[in-house]
């Protein structure tokens, strides 16, 4: 009969418990990180597809005669982006667009900005100033919630992704 010294009893169990806990946390962390990248990738993709779609929306279905994107136009973009996000299981994101223009390599307007270089609404159109390139930006923003309640990483993070294309109808 094996005699285990009293002070060694349960040591393997405790070692196992500690290591398995670490192992599980690490494994869940890998899964969580993988999903976070996947979702961020999807959101960036959806924003890009939305911006590309917005850039080629045409009058009169989706723009007024000043080439300002109208509500049906925005709804079309919003539906496209929402459907793409739903395919990745992402819901509750806020989608908005900004029509702008610029002369050079400046960053696009912030996602919270309202349209600058606004083409105006019909019939008082505002022409894009000479030398400017018109752009349309689609922003997708919202909270990404973690699946697992892991220690030290909180419950999620805020995602803001935008894509900007030349506004081809202006």
């Amino acid at each position: 009969m094996r005699i285990v010294p009293r002070r060694k009893q349960g040591q393997a169990l405790i070692e196992g418990a500690i290591t398995i806990s670490l192992f599980v946390i690490l494994a869940l962390g890998v899964v969580e990180f993988g999903r976070a990248f996947f979702v961020a990738n999807y959101i960036a993709h959806a924003a890009r597809d939305g911006a590309r779609m917005a850039s080629v929306l045409t009058y009169p279905n989706y723009r007024d005669s000043c080439q300002r994107i109208t509500s049906p136009g925005f709804l079309t973009v919003q539906n496209q982006v929402t459907q793409e996000l739903q395919a990745a299981g992402v819901t509750g994101m806020t989608i908005n667009f900004i029509q702008s223009c610029a002369t050079g390599a400046s960053p696009p307007p912030d996602c919270s900005a309202t349209s600058n270089c606004d083409p105006g609404t019909s019939p008082s159109c505002t022409a894009t100033p000479a030398g400017n390139i018109p752009y349309v930006t689609v922003c997708v923003s919202g909270n990404f919630n973690y699946m697992f309640n892991l220690p030290f990483v909180g419950t999620g993070f805020t995602v803001v992704r935008s894509a900007t294309f030349r506004d081809e109808e202006r």
């Binding site: 009169p60 390139i133 930006t137 081809e168």
Partner: protein, 371 residues
């Protein structure tokens, strides 16, 4: 004694396992990040190419516009501004050329070359995409392999995008009017890579007197209304011209019902409500289908392309007053006078300002596509 020596062995083993798992996790995170950054760089290339192609077809500084378009998008944490961050980002080369999708499969349809251009190809590179765990992975590799190598700290990511200015496949036409490519209406047919020369464009005159000439027809835009009334046709006008909603999409190869009909009131509507008001102030562009068959209007005909025409208010004749000539291009009216209609409509390069494109039925309308 033996048992004492074995104490903590499981802990050591598990420690090694966890180290291996951490290495895998580090690898997974870095690879995920590289994949994500690759998506971003592709987005930058797409934005740069689509922005530049319109400028290239107009003969402008397409490289500057490609840079500006790229700088509006992020990759690897910053805006892709190649002038402000030349060590991090590069757009090289930015090539203008011609895109011909009739090339055989496997042959690159894009060929860089001298103007005229209808396409732009952009190669975007994020030159130093860092590994988050590069140091850890190198140390681990050295520990396990016993060497002194390194997997490095970063890698370049390159993506290519080609944008082409091509004829539209499907558009919502602006007016329920079609023209045919032959007969009295001499539309200029653009060849692949041909730049827009305004002097080459056709003056569509007379686009008039339906049914006195049979080069233009009223049509139902595919709604199946074979004998449309004034009201039916008015419904197909743009909303600000009296239409009651968005016209249906029409595309190359689709058939529409053509019709003569005495719809003179529509010319008054076109002039007074469509072309005259701001922001058009008397000159407005319309994109309409082009039919392949000239001859009697009536029955189904096939759309072979689209043309954008510029109509001037002063060129719309809304009454039957007898004049010797009419319109800005002075159409001789002859003994029977000029009937109501649209005269001297000008083929324009719209909406991109170019007539370049691919395919065989390109009358000047063009949209940008990623090729």
């Amino acid at each position: 004694m033996r048992r004492t020596k074995q104490g903590g062995f499981a802990l050591v083993m598990m420690g090694m396992w966890i180290l291996a798992l951490m290495a895998l996790a580090a690898l997974a995170i870095d690879v995920s990040r590289l994949a994500y950054t690759a998506t971003e760089v592709q987005g930058v290339a797409d934005a740069a190419a689509t922005a530049a192609v319109k400028t290239a077809t107009q003969g402008g500084d397409y490289t500057a516009v490609a840079k500006a378009g790229a700088a509006k998008n992020r990759a690897d944490g910053n805006y892709f501004d190649v002038d402000a961050q030349p060590t991090l980002y590069a757009l090289n080369p930015v090539q203008a050329g011609t895109y011909d999708n009739t090339k055989a499969p496997g042959v690159d349809p894009f060929a860089a070359g001298p103007a005229p251009w209808n396409a732009v190809r952009v190669t975007a590179t994020a030159q130093h995409v860092g590994f988050i765990f590069g140091g850890f992975m190198s140390a681990l590799a050295n520990l396990v392999g016993g060497g002194n190598g390194s997997i490095g700290t970063n890698t370049p990511i390159t993506k290519i995008a080609t944008a082409v200015c091509a004829p539209p496949l499907q558009v919502p036409p602006d007016l329920p009017i079609t023209v045919c490519a032959g007969g009295n209406i001499q539309l200029h047919l653009f060849q692949p890579g041909e730049a827009c020369d305004p002097t080459q464009l056709g003056t569509i005159s007379p686009l008039n007197a339906i049914p006195n000439t049979q080069d233009a027809c009223w049509n139902d835009l595919g709604t199946g209304t074979t004998n449309p009334s004034n009201q039916d046709l008015l419904h197909l006008f743009p909303p600000d011209c009296g239409g009651n909603g968005a016209p249906p999409l029409a595309g190359d190869g689709e058939t529409v019902d053509t019709n003569n009909g005495n719809h003179v009131n529509l010319f008054s509507n076109l002039k007074n409500n469509c072309v005259h008001p701001p922001p058009y102030n008397g000159t407005r562009d319309f994109t309409i289908p082009v039919l392949g068959t000239c001859g009697a209007c009536g029955g189904a005909q096939t759309i072979v392309g689209f043309v954008t025409i510029e109509i001037k208010e002063s060129d719309i004749k809304t009454n039957s007053s007898n004049v010797s000539t009419f319109g800005s291009c002075n159409v001789p009216c002859g003994p029977s006078g000029c009937p109501q209609g649209i005269y001297c409509a000008k083929q324009v390069c719209n909406p991109s300002g170019t007539g370049t494109g691919i395919g065989t039925d390109n009358f000047g309308s063009c949209i940008v596509r990623l090729g």
